[in-house]
């Protein structure tokens, strides 16, 4: 089972990294999603990969890691999924707004806007100077 799992994590992670390096924002965010899937699966696998050993206490079975998978990584993954979800929702909102405001989704062109010279403050209209 380990080899299948490792391959799955590897494929997800590798695809994610490749997508993050692509030139369009949607691909980037999809890539980050895939990387987060890979990382979450990896953390999940830190508890043993086993079948029929879910960490729900059964009467009469000794409560140790020989009989149950480790529930701690599952708790970690739950936290990470929730946090990742919030971050990605925000990232999507930023990218959507960025598409509306910039008019294109090429990451190079979007990030170049911050490199332009700072805009000057609007000229005062009849303000009195202190």
């Amino acid at each position: 089972m380990e080899i299948v799992f490792s391959l799955a994590v590897g494929v997800l992670g590798g695809s994610g990294v490749w997508l993050v390096l692509r030139p369009r924002t949607f691909q980037v965010i999809l890539g980050l999603s895939l990387v987060s899937y890979a990382v979450n699966l990896f953390i999940f696998s830190m508890g043993s990969l086993s079948i029929d050993a879910e960490p729900i206490v059964r009467p009469g079975v000794p409560q140790d890691l020989l009989h149950y998978t480790d529930p701690m990584p599952q708790a970690l993954v739950l936290t990470a999924i929730v946090i990742g979800f919030a971050l990605f929702v925000f990232a999507l909102a930023v990218l959507k707004r960025s598409w509306e405001v910039h008019g294109n989704v090429e990451t190079d062109r979007i990030t170049a806007v911050a490199e332009e010279p700072a805009p000057d403050l609007p000229a005062p209209a009849g303000e009195d100077k202190a």
């Binding site: 924002t25 980050l32 990584p73 990470a80 806007v113 911050a114 332009e116």
Partner: protein, 497 residues
Amino acid sequence: MNTLIVSPLLIPLATLVATLLARRSPRAVTALSLAGALALTAAGMALVALAAQGQILATQAGGWAAPYGITLVIDRLSAAMVAITGIIGTATLVFALARDDDPARSRDFHPLVHGLLVGVCGAFITGDVFNLYVWFEVLLVGSFALLVLGGGRRRLSGTVVYVVLNLVATMMFLLAAGMLYGASGSLNMALLAQAFAAGEVPATAHASVVLMLTAFSIKAALFPVFGWLPASYHVAWTPVSALFAGLLTKVGVYALIRIVTLFWPDASAAHEVLLWVACATMLIGVLGAAAQVEVRRILSFHIVSQVGYMILGLALATPLALAGAVFYLIHHIVVKANLFFIGGIAARLTGSERLAAMGGLYARAPWLALLFAIPALSLAGIPPLSGFWAKFVLVKASLDASAWIAAAVALITGIFTLLSMSKIWNEAFLKPHPAGDAGERSAAGMRPAVWAVSALAAMTVAIGLGAGPVMDYAVAAAEQLGAPAGYIAAVTASGGQ
């Protein structure tokens, strides 16, 4: 006692909720927000007073025993960081009272700042690796929202860079935390420190720590992964820029210091690598600053360069160097935030952030010139300001440790920093405004901004002239950091195993 330990988390959270509930009234929001920041500062000061006596405070969140429960640990470094966070938070909120037409100046600003502050304080006081990840994320999502607050093409562009690159760093940290758990069976920093010291961890655990340090290096903007910082910090609203500049990278530096001193207390190959990274960061940061022509872009590159100094202190692994790093942290947070604030005021008064379009400030506002000179000279390391003592200790520690190249780089960087500061001085203050009298903008409504800047400048002078007590505290903090056994004992005594 336990309430005091948890207060750096409770106070900003309570303020966040209060400012959200009071949304209808902007005045109530501002008042609650300021009250919360002042309360956080007071809690930080109380913690510093307690920690200065040498006691490491520790408690288990929710009463759950370690390693399954989360430990909160406050030693001298954490206490100082919480106090400084409160001070900078208060200064930012006071600065934000100044009249400004930026759309970011809204009721949403205040809850978000406290959301950020809770993440920062949480990162400083946690004793659990995964909990550190959680607090990093809290502060990250708060920073996303604050960075883009106000909208506009430029801000969104900077936010895209910031979001993507910080999310990558986050994923790296998460992976490392999971790997560390899998390799060692625990996430509690004290237990891990014990296991590392006893040599009971497999090589995978060391590999995961390397990955974790890489993630922190991205967050702290070290060479070669600092590019996101100068690409994004300068687009935010001025108080937000200053808050980020003062606090965010320093959380990364704190995490680096904590993990390295706990898990790898003795000099090792990692320290060698960190030494070269620190030297490269110092030099490249300041050379990057020399190429910029806008105030906040210059200052952003300086953040990178100055973080290199702190990592230099960590990499040398001697008690004096660590003391220098701690002192540098404290001094730099105040100075950097102050410089960003002053940049904002200067931009308001001259109508532009580009040096070429600024000028005439010395003639028009000599008080601003003085308020700029203090943090600028402190940054460059001119006595008797705080930066001098910080750099002096680090250079002395480098020489004592026979790190000649590091000492040379530190001194050369200081010269270039001075050059950068004089560039800003010449362009923004001394030379006449290119548009003559027509270029002057009104200074109406700037008083809160000036108060914030003056308070921080006074702090810099106070730390500089009264460096003795601060340095003693830093030396004691470095002693605590250099002896993880004290940390472990405090956690064990609090109910951890």
